[in-house]
Symmetry: C2
Subunit: 182 residues, 2 copies
DNA sequence: CCTGAAGACTTCAGTAGTAAAGTTCGAAGC
DNA sequence: GCTTCGAACTTTACTACTGAAGTCTTCAGG
């Protein structure tokens, strides 16, 4: 009956056209960049979610593993620090760590020298999971960029870095939770 | 006391270096693009959240308004269709619409010809909010891209579109919820 | 007509997040 | 050496989303 079996999502081009129609004083070039960025990110998150699910972890857990590994040996950070790096509230971090300890991906210990401090450490199992995830991710990322020449990849990295610098100077530290408005 | 008052988040450069250290078979050029994309998106969402909060709505509500406006006049869509466009489950859509109806941003009616179908329509108030949000967003987006020449903006749009095309063909319709894996 | 299957939305139970209050320990002043 | 302040994590109450089950309507067949 429905002539449109999947109305679903309009294409990027249709969306740009709709913006022009509904809000004239908008630079289509700018809107194209912004819309593509946002869609791209959604798609990438879906892809990562698929991959981490394959490994039996969630994207959220993967982020924690990533932060610990990127911190470098001995792969230990406090919950507060982790929360800042992931852009979560400390409360959310507490719960996430609970789950990950239960799954054996990380350990939670009290700091010897300061008993109110907690230290989250990567287990061997956690490190293995991270490596597995990275192997999958790197294949996906290479595929994602496969249509771009080496030169284009460099250019893209450079352009994105410029944008990033701009927002980062505008929002000194948005590493915190989303609502540090007041 | 702490020599590192805000350990917070490592810079993009530090992060790339850490990846090289921890996982050698990774193209730094690729990782730079991917990391920049992900950070950029986080920052942008923070910025949008700040703006919509200024208008007394949430980012989630803004997305619904956006979908309705972009659908074109008469600015009406069913909850199921909306859910697909936003990448949510129908259940989440029901609740979101509840809130937005209560705030007078949209209306919920039964379709005359098919009484099981529901139609969500934009109110004048909702359209106003969308316009306000767009004005703020377009200023922000112009600022975001201000360091790029017209040529660079075009190039960036083109490169991002290439990536998008690649993921969209790889994942035919990920417009649905995140977990259509099984 | 009545029945059964399919579609579209809603309801329910469970999970993960935020904000704010609570707890515990360490450090600085008196 | 007590006491108070502050830092770091946890707990509590609430909000939003997912997946699955439920309800209601339409449509096709006997």
């Amino acid at each position: 009956m429905a002539d449109t079996p999947g109305p679903a999502e309009p294409s990027l081009e249709e969306q740009i056209a709709a913006y022009q129609r509904e809000f004239q004083d908008l630079d289509p070039q700018v809107e194209k960049v912004v819309s593509a960025l946002s869609r791209l990110n959604r798609r990438m998150n879906v892809a990562y979610g698929r991959q981490t699910a394959e490994l039996g972890i969630s994207n959220a857990e993967w982020e924690v593993l990533k932060a610990l590994v990127l911190a470098g040996r001995p792969y230990r950070l406090g919950p507060g620090d982790l929360a800042k790096r992931l852009g979560l509230t400390p409360a959310a971090m507490t719960h996430r760590i609970d789950r990950m300890v239960a799954e054996g991906l990380v350990t939670r210990e009290r700091d010897g020298s300061n008993r109110v401090r907690v230290i989250v450490g990567l287990t061997d199992d956690g490190r293995e999971k991270w490596l597995d995830a990275m192997r999958l991710a790197s294949v996906f990322e290479e595929e994602l960029l496969q249509d771009l020449s080496g030169e284009d990849r460099g250019k893209l990295g450079e352009l994105l870095t410029k944008l990033l610098r701009r927002v980062e100077t505008a929002q000194p530290d948005a590493g915190g939770r989303l609502r540090d408005l007041d």
